[in-house]
Symmetry: C2
Subunit: 138 residues, 2 copies
DNA sequence: ATAATTGTTACACTAAGTATAACAATTAGA
DNA sequence: TCTAATTGTTATACTTAGTGTAACAATTAT
């Protein structure tokens, strides 16, 4: 799953959970948002480790929101699900030790891309699950 | 080639061309920046269509800069080489006609990602080949 | 004519993304 | 304590994207 797909899928799941007090299991969530239950469990188990959702194993178990929607930030979700470095911005080669102009250009782009990355993350810090819920209800 | 790899490779090639008055062929450029001559030709032929480089076929042909480095903007390079929509930000599913909350969330993220896209492109508009050349000479 | 070059297509290989299944560990409830 | 439902995790098969290279027609200087 790409970073952006994970992010939108997570938000779909969280929005669904926010509509329900009682825990929903991965199969219900999967059906609702149209993706496989296994995938849901893989995603939500990561969100569980960050306290964004609560997960209960066993009979009558399932997933529920771990925090109020106004306290869940997009950036937090993103960090919880994303192990790879961000939005797939990469330069061609690894940097050699010779410090050629190719290396310098690679470094230049790595810098540029991490600036972009920081801007994206800042943007996401300002977005809460609550604000998304409000927007999609319109 | 991913968008970001194409971009950094293009800049490497353009920097190399800026150091030379006479045209350089794809094989020389490829050797210098460490990628295959065919790939170079594929990239530079696109840059040629936008007037960023000049390309001459036949014996004693090759590639040379089509404009002064101060008039070549990163955004321009990016647009010339990139056929796909930008930095690989995508949401999971296509939007159905039922207008479900999943659809709304997809639309929400498509909007968010195109905002990001615009910010990235604006950032690139302010960067010229000249400014990159200055930075990497330091 | 010949040789060097671009522009373009094609192909094989590797890596990443997607969809699904399988199963141990856990837990509620009979 | 046994059973059924559930998570968490690993595995597998398949598809798509990315990478590296080759091939060859078209073009052009000598």
């Amino acid at each position: 799953m790409s970073a952006s797909t994970k992010l939108s899928t997570s938000v779909k799941a969280l929005c669904y959970l926010s509509e329900n007090d009682k825990p929903k299991n991965s199969s219900e969530i999967g059906k609702h948002i149209g993706i496989n239950a296994s995938k849901i469990r893989m995603l939500l188990s990561k969100l569980g480790k960050s306290g964004i959702v609560r997960s209960d194993s066993g009979m009558r178990g399932g997933f529920s929101l771990g925090k109020a929607p106004e306290n869940i930030h997009l950036q937090e979700i993103y960090c919880a699900i994303e192990d790879r470095k961000a939005f797939y911005l990469n330069v061609n080669n690894t940097i050699s030790k010779r410090n050629t102009s190719s290396d310098k250009i690679n470094l230049y782009f790595l810098d540029l891309f991490s600036e972009v990355q920081i801007e994206i993350e800042n943007k996401m810090t300002d977005i809460t699950l609550k604000s998304i819920l409000n927007k999609i209800k319109q």
